[in-house]
């Protein structure tokens, strides 16, 4: 039988007795020397991606997160216990470094939308053009617009770092993840600095009312774990 793995921590803190994971299974620890894995038994071969399972996964990780900062696994990670032990032994130093990196921290998320037309309408637009030429000119306008948007996203990322950087241990910044989303960033902030971080971010937001912010957190450090990818590439399991 496989186990569903939620996250990895350095110690075994108490889990609430009532805590249930995927498919209502009881959540337990597997202690493997340096690490403790939070798992539950799972009978199937794949976990359905649905709201109920996603919330169950998040609730378990969140429960651990209240005590300590775990390294969360990606949703849907199933593995046998021997393979899990083998992975943890083989990747011990890397995982220890990752745990060290997130220790005592939380993830704060910032997403920004800027509803602005990035295409320069003043650029060449000749109604007499043949269709192929008009097509390429339109592509040129779009390309220049998207380059301007990317440059602005980078400037905003630097501006944000300037405002809150001293409270941030690590960051993951994705510029232009969708057509409207200018920036999606995750910041690793020490637990004790969260309130100060929020205040500084609020002040920064007031400086740029043209930007629409979605600020959320504190969350477990999902964006800084990245152990799912290593796990799959090493063992080819999911």
């Amino acid at each position: 039988m496989k186990v569903y793995i939620y996250c990895l921590t350095e110690g075994t803190d108490a889990l609430p007795n009532s805590l249930r994971g995927i498919a209502g299974a009881a959540v337990r620890w597997i202690d493997t020397g340096c690490f403790s894995s939070v798992v539950s038994d799972f009978a199937g071969e794949a976990v359905l991606v649905n709201r109920e399972n996603a919330l169950a996964h998040a609730a378990v990780v969140q429960s651990v997160f209240k005590q300590t900062t775990p390294l969360p696994f990606r949703f849907g990670t199933l593995v046998t216990e021997p393979k899990l032990n083998s992975y943890l032994t083989a990747r011990r130093e890397t995982l220890q470094r990752k745990l060290e990196q997130v220790r005592g921290c939380v993830e704060m998320s910032v997403k920004i939308v800027w509803n602005r037309n990035w295409t320069d309408e003043s650029l060449h637009k000749d109604v007499q053009e043949k269709p192929g030429t008009a097509f390429l000119h339109e592509k040129r306008r779009q390309l220049m617009g998207s380059e301007a948007r990317a440059a602005e996203a980078r400037r905003i990322a630097v501006w944000l770092e300037d405002k809150t950087g001293e409270m941030v241990r690590e960051k993951r910044i994705d510029t232009n993840p969708t057509e409207k989303l200018l920036l999606a960033a995750a910041y690793l902030v020490e637990r004790g600095a969260v309130e100060q971080y929020r205040v500084r971010l609020k002040e920064a937001r007031e400086e740029k009312p043209e930007l629409h912010f979605l600020v959320s957190g504190p969350w477990p450090p999902y964006s800084f774990a990245n152990i799912d990818l290593e796990f799959k590439s090493q063992f080819g399991v999911s």
């Binding site: 110690g11 209240k66 004790g192 969260v194 990245n226």
Partner: protein, 121 residues
Amino acid sequence: MELSPENPRPAEPEIETSHVEEFVEQLSCVTSTLPSRINIDAQSVEQGLAKLVLTLIEFIRRLLEKQAVRRMEGGDLSPEQIEELGLALMRLEAKLQELKTQFGLADEDLNLDLGPIGRLI
């Protein structure tokens, strides 16, 4: 790790925005590009394969467009060559649109999550 002044219990998560609908729409776009598990039935495999192949074609198509625009800007193409190149790329775009419709794929489906290095497109 024990809770302590250096490791306090984290504040409850908060989500704050004045533009809820806008972000719900954008987050839905991001979610649709997340890698999903492929069910091994004939139809899913066919669509999964079509998605992968069309994503790579879309990636190459965009590169070709950029290259064409750069060459046009560089002034090394005659008006006839610009027209010919533009028409070829226009037809390629239309053909790809037709294939997407055929396989029930939207624009945002044509992307690949490359893990730590980001998305392909």
